[in-house]
């Protein structure tokens, strides 16, 4: 299997933040949602992939090439969208495209202008005059105008309204329809994942909790509910994101551990929301 991204034992510590022994892989042609609460290590991981943060140790490969040794080659095939714009605020949109064009042999200016038109962006407007949603669209246009094979998006839907988020998801679906294209996007919004992600990687406190296909993860875990007093302490420890009210408890548990719980508990199919919330809460023998 070919991989768009392969990360092995990535370590990066700086101040209070960092990632520790992060390993996961994005197969070529798929979309991976990179999930975790604020401060979990998503942006640190993405910045390490882009060499914005110099990793302490570990390996990062993009399409089989080390991202440090082949930095220019690797970045030529990556389109990047961050949660805030990174262009000179006084540049017009046309000028922004002109500034980027010399760096990419595959830059398609017709495609760039077409995307601006499809997004209803005035090419003569300045970056600082754009709304949050428009800024995301100009970043997408710049990211896609040089025909990347990999799109990396860091919290792209943060601060967007539902319509804008839906638009972005449609763009990503269209992009991924080419089986040679791959996408890694970080988010803490679970509805984004349910719409388009093929793979999900959970990160918490700088460590990878899970990395698997979305379907496998949803099949691997089940929601459990029941009355208080039903479980022993040992059984409670099996439940991920254990939560209790005055009379009931709930959480999720791995399917292979379900047999260790009483027959009287209620089970429900797991949703992405439940997975994200419960993994963030922690607990359970994972």
């Amino acid at each position: 299997m070919e991989y768009a991204i392969e990360i092995k034992n990535l370590k990066k510590k700086f101040g209070k933040f960092g990632v520790d022994d992060v390993s996961f892989a994005l197969p070529k042609g798929y979309i991976m949602g990179f999930v975790g609460k604020n401060g979990a290590g998503k942006t640190t991981t993405i910045k390490s992939i882009l060499n914005m943060l110099i990793r302490d140790s570990g390996e990062v490969k993009i399409f089989g090439k080390d991202n440090l040794l082949h930095e220019a080659d690797v970045k030529r095939k990556i389109g990047i969208v961050m949660d805030s714009p990174f262009f000179e605020e006084n540049w017009t949109l046309i000028r922004t495209g002109k500034a980027l064009k010399p760096f990419y042999p595959d830059w398609d200016n017709d495609l760039f202008m077409k995307m601006l038109s499809e997004f209803s962006l005035d090419p003569k407007k300045k970056i600082k005059e754009l709304s949050r949603g428009m800024k995301m669209k100009i970043m997408i246009s710049c990211a896609m105008a040089h025909d990347p094979d990999l799109l990396i998006l860091d919290e792209p839907t943060s601060g967007l309204d539902a319509v804008a988020r839906d638009e972005l998801m449609s763009i990503l679906k269209k992009f991924i329809s080419n089986e040679n294209k791959s996408i890694l996007f970080s988010t803490h919004i679970t509805s984004d994942l349910e719409k388009i992600a093929d793979y999900i990687t959970f990160i918490d406190d700088g460590k990878i909790i899970h990395s698997d296909t979305k379907d496998n993860l949803l099949e691997k875990y089940v929601v459990v509910k029941g009355g208080l007093g039903l479980l022993t302490a040992e059984q409670k420890s099996l439940i991920i994101g254990y939560d209790e009210s005055r009379v009931n408890f709930d959480g999720i548990v791995a399917m292979e551990k379900l047999a260790q719980l009483p027959n009287s508990i209620v089970t429900e199919a797991c949703t992405m929301d439940e997975l994200v919330v419960r993994f963030n809460k922690g607990g359970g023998i994972q």
Binding site: F14, K47, L50, N51, M52, L53, I54, E71, A72, D73, V74, K75, R76, I78, I80, M82, S84, P85, F86, F87, E88, E89, N90, W91, R95, A99, L100, P102, F103, Y104, I127
Partner: protein, 220 residues
Amino acid sequence: MKKIKALLKLDFQLLAPYWKWWLMFIGFSLAIALLNQSGFFFIISLMIFAGTVMAFPYESTEKSNLGILYATLPTNRKSMVFARYVMVLIVFVISYAVAIGAGIIIDLAFHQTLDGRMILLATALAFAMYTISVGFQTPFLYRFGYQKGRIFMWIPIILVNIVLMLPAFAQMANLNRSLNVMATFGNHQTLTNIISFAVGVVAIIASYIASHIIYLRKNI
């Protein structure tokens, strides 16, 4: 080579909006020249200020989050630092052309002439002042960014301008012993030229190496 050209083009695009600062520096240098009644001082002063102009791409980078833009481009940090220093040399050539032209005109206005030897001296000193100014500040700008690093860019300017303005103030204060900077340089021109060029080359090379080391390790 294409990448260096592209980086240079990008860097100059970041510098272009600061044309008003250029005018201000020319005005200030003119004031120093008039105070000393010499085009020579215009040349030296403008070249020092030209060095500070090289800090503005860092301001632009910080203000607009362009560190991320540079990190996304298909190039490496070595090339970025190299291109920035090529820009330093290009700005020197352009600034010096303006400085020498205006310096000659100012001297003519004061009925003085800059002969070939003085022009060579002015070139050597201008090169030294510019490269010391840029060389000193650039590693700090790479290390601390513009907001924190900019204080360092004024240190060489303040020190050198104090020395340049001493002759005028000495005369105004009517001191018995006045410092004659022009005479000192003029009496040892060849040595001054050699030392100035050498200091300038060493300053810029040392600065390049320091910036290279700092930027390659920097977390953006």
